[in-house]
């Protein structure tokens, strides 16, 4: 192991030297990144197989970084820590190794092993100390160069894998979300590849490719301006619109395994998304008020319940777009309490006839309690969102209301539970009676209620296990649908930033 450190050190000295010459920094980073990456990876890979068969070796690998860290400590000193850096890693590293396999070692045994390791360590430190003396600042620079190198000019990538096992009491059930586990048995919900990068000083780029069981789908790919004058922001590309609260988010940030049916019913299985352009404005009011407007395509799978859907009449004019207007406000009630409130509206053509239009109006509230003014891991939040929709259909106008209310409680660092109630009304005709002829969504003819309860366990913020129970009562059917789901999520790669 130490040899590998040393090998790496030599291999990367160049980078650090450039790093220390600011004018060279950017250019050299570009030129050297790939060279060095190649070298670094080759080194790491060749060393990787070794730890696998021998657990103690892999433990040593885990423990090693502190040792390496202490080495960098040396150059940062002005003398007084020399002692620290010589001793600290010894005890630290040695003890964890000794303790891990067998906690019941007698103190004597432990001390013995430790002494041996300490001797080795001291020897090693000595050798390194001699080497370091000549190039103290060079070593510090090297460490930093390496750190930066991990944050190279490549985009940040992460893969999010969602898997589920589901059981439904009937063969025909009514999950509406594209990534809901809709089959009895194992379900591949999605593999999401998320790509994020700053394009240049003026734009950032975000992309989400969703790899399903049998297709790859470009869910989002858009650019966002970073600093237009007047606090405006432009987003252009393929994107989930910022309608309401949940529509613009991904399964990773949901409190349940599945999507609320409000989104699937009103917009389609993927929510409201499309190719287009969004302009938003952060108003100069003393509290947070953001005004959002967007224009996107009204065609495609994501719009088939209310707008054109697969019906593509071609583009005739500006009235063929799906328009969205939203106002989002946020009130920091205290350090511990937050309230956000949004109102949204969407307007666009639907495919039932010429000049047939659809309008959707919605409001959403998110109230969150997270005590940060004292030690706590608790979070309690209330989310509710209600959508009212009017659609022109031949000879009539249909209106309906759909929404959900959910409560989430994280009661400890790793555990949370949540409950959700959802309701969808039948489409009412202009005479006030539930209408039977809804060509856009022929099956939904009556009230629907659904209740779900979930339990979540996060081993770390990068993995999640979730158990969910569900009761669905679509009143146009004779039977109640019961369901249970067990879902797992794994996130790898760069840590993405969370939205509120």
């Amino acid at each position: 192991m130490p040899n590998r450190w040393h090998g790496d050190v030599r291999g990367r000295v160049d980078v650090s030297e450039y790093r220390r010459t600011p004018s060279w920094r950017l250019a050299s980073a570009v030129l050297c990144t790939w060279l060095v990456t190649g070298a670094g990876r080759a080194g790491a890979e060749s060393a990787e197989p070794a730890p696998e068969p021998a657990p103690p070796a892999s433990d040593a690998e885990t423990v090693d970084p502190p040792a390496g860290e202490a080495e960098t400590a040396a150059p940062a000193t002005d003398g007084m820590e020399a002692e620290t850096s010589a001793d600290e890693p010894t005890t630290d590293g040695a003890v964890e190794e000794v303790a891990a396999p067998e906690a019941e070692l007698t103190p004597e045994q432990q001390a013995e092993i430790e002494a041996a390791l300490a001797a080795d360590q001291a020897e090693r430190e000595e050798a390194q100390g001699a080497a370091a003396e000549g190039e103290e600042s060079g070593r510090a620079g090297l460490g930093r160069g390496l750190g930066r190198f991990f944050q190279s000019l490549n985009p940040d990538l992460s893969f999010i894998l969602d898997l589920a096992f589901a059981w439904y009491s009937t063969d025909e059930h009514l999950e509406t979300g594209e990534h809901d586990p809709a089959e009895n048995g194992f379900n591949f919900q999605q593999l999401e590849l998320s790509v994020r990068a700053t394009v240049d000083p003026y734009f950032r780029f975000d992309g989400n490719l969703v790899i399903g069981a049998d297709e790859v789908e470009l869910e989002e790919a858009y650019a966002t301006t970073l600093g237009l004058p007047g606090r405006f922001q432009l987003r252009l590309g393929q994107m989930l619109t910022r309608f309401g609260r949940i529509n613009g988010t991904h399964p990773h940030s949901w409190d349940f395994v599945d999507q609320p049916f409000a989104i699937g019913r009103v917009f389609g299985s993927e929510g409201n998304s499309g190719l287009g352009l969004e302009l938003s404005w952060l108003t100069p009011l003393p509290w947070y008020v953001e005004v959002v407007g967007s224009a996107t395509d009204a065609e495609g799978e994501t719009t088939n319940r209310s707008f054109y859907g697969d019906h593509d009449p071609g583009f005739d004019g500006l009235e063929d777009f799906l328009y969205l207007v939203a106002i989002k406000q946020f009130f920091p009630l205290s350090d511990d309490w937050s309230l956000s409130w949004g109102i949204s509206a969407a307007f666009g053509p639907n495919g039932t006839g010429t000049d047939a239009r659809t309008e959707v109006y919605a409001t959403d509230i998110y109230l969150k309690w997270r005590p940060i003014s004292q030690q706590s891991y608790q979070i309690v939040s209330l989310t509710t969102e209600w959508l009212y929709r009017r659609r022109d259909v031949p000879g009539d106008t249909l209106q309906d209301v759909t929404g959900y209310v959910q409560v989430f409680w994280r009661f400890s660092r790793r555990w949370a539970t949540a409950a959700r109630y959802e309701y969808g009304s039948p489409p009412y005709g202009s005479d006030g009676d539930p209408s039977g002829d809804d060509d856009l969504d022929p099956s939904w003819t009556d009230h629907r209620h659904r209740v779900a309860v979930s339990f979540t366990f996060w081993p770390t913020e990068f993995s999640r296990l979730r158990l969910q129970g569900l009761v669905d009562v679509p009143q146009w059917r004779d039977e109640v649908v019961w369901a249970g789901m067990l879902a797992a999520e794994f996130v790898t790669g760069e840590h993405g930033a969370h939205v509120f």
């Binding site: 790496d8 960098t72 460490g143 000083p201 970073l226 952060l282 030690q375 770390t460 990068f462």
Partner: protein, 301 residues
Amino acid sequence: MRSFASILLAITLLLGSGAARADLEVVATTPDLASVAMAIGGAHAKVSALALPTQDPHWVDARPHLALKLARADMLLVVGLGLEVGWLPTLLTGSRNLNVQNGGRGHVDCSELIEPLEVAQARIDRSQGDVHAGGNPHYMFDPRAAAQVIDGVAARMAVLDPPNAGTYRANAASFKTRLATARIGWEKQLSGLRGAKVIDYHKSFPYLESWLGFHVVEHLEPRPGIPPNPRHVAQVLALAKQQKVRIVLQESFYPDRTGQLVATQAGAKLVRIPAGPDLSARQGYIEFMGQVVALLRGATD
């Protein structure tokens, strides 16, 4: 719609003309950096922090009003080294403020001003827990690192607000002198800590360790970001007894039951220190470090 727009415009004008604006609006991600900016900026700077000292700076909610603060800021001080990676990008994008974006004139990554410890020397992965490849981000616990931050922040303030450049430099110089004087006193007070064995909760103290010369022999978290489990705690406790650990050290935003247990059973003292100065009580950086020193002193006697 038109009347709504004109009302907004009127309010904008009112706010723009009415409010007395500081020469420099500074936002820092953490209270320690904010307290440094306050000392340097003096009356010319309006400074606020995004995180509270009672809050884990790894896990700050990207509450939208924080983006509003960033939208108004001339200068942003970040700890860097990946500490804010889970929340700051959202706020920066939301701020629509070119000055404070990465690479902007007002964006200061303070980790570039210091010599980081625990820089990854080989390829890392998440089996090691929440590791920070670029180095450990808790450097403000070392007053010597803080002195480097003071220099860097003052230099940037001078660039951003040239008319007051002299004041910033003078404030920084006097602040550094006070800090250096205080540091000598602290080092004397804590000379008994040199060589002492310490257990901490999270890997939050390599800089404090490097400054004061104590040895952190083990962490209550089995790996950074992974909460303590019984098996690991048993090992830590055995080690604490064997190594005659004197102090169990943790930041106050971590739960203290485990630390208390280990401290009691091992005959050590539990020291809970805040993550940064309490700005609402007008605590400055020197007073904060004085408090940290006093807490450690209390445990060494």
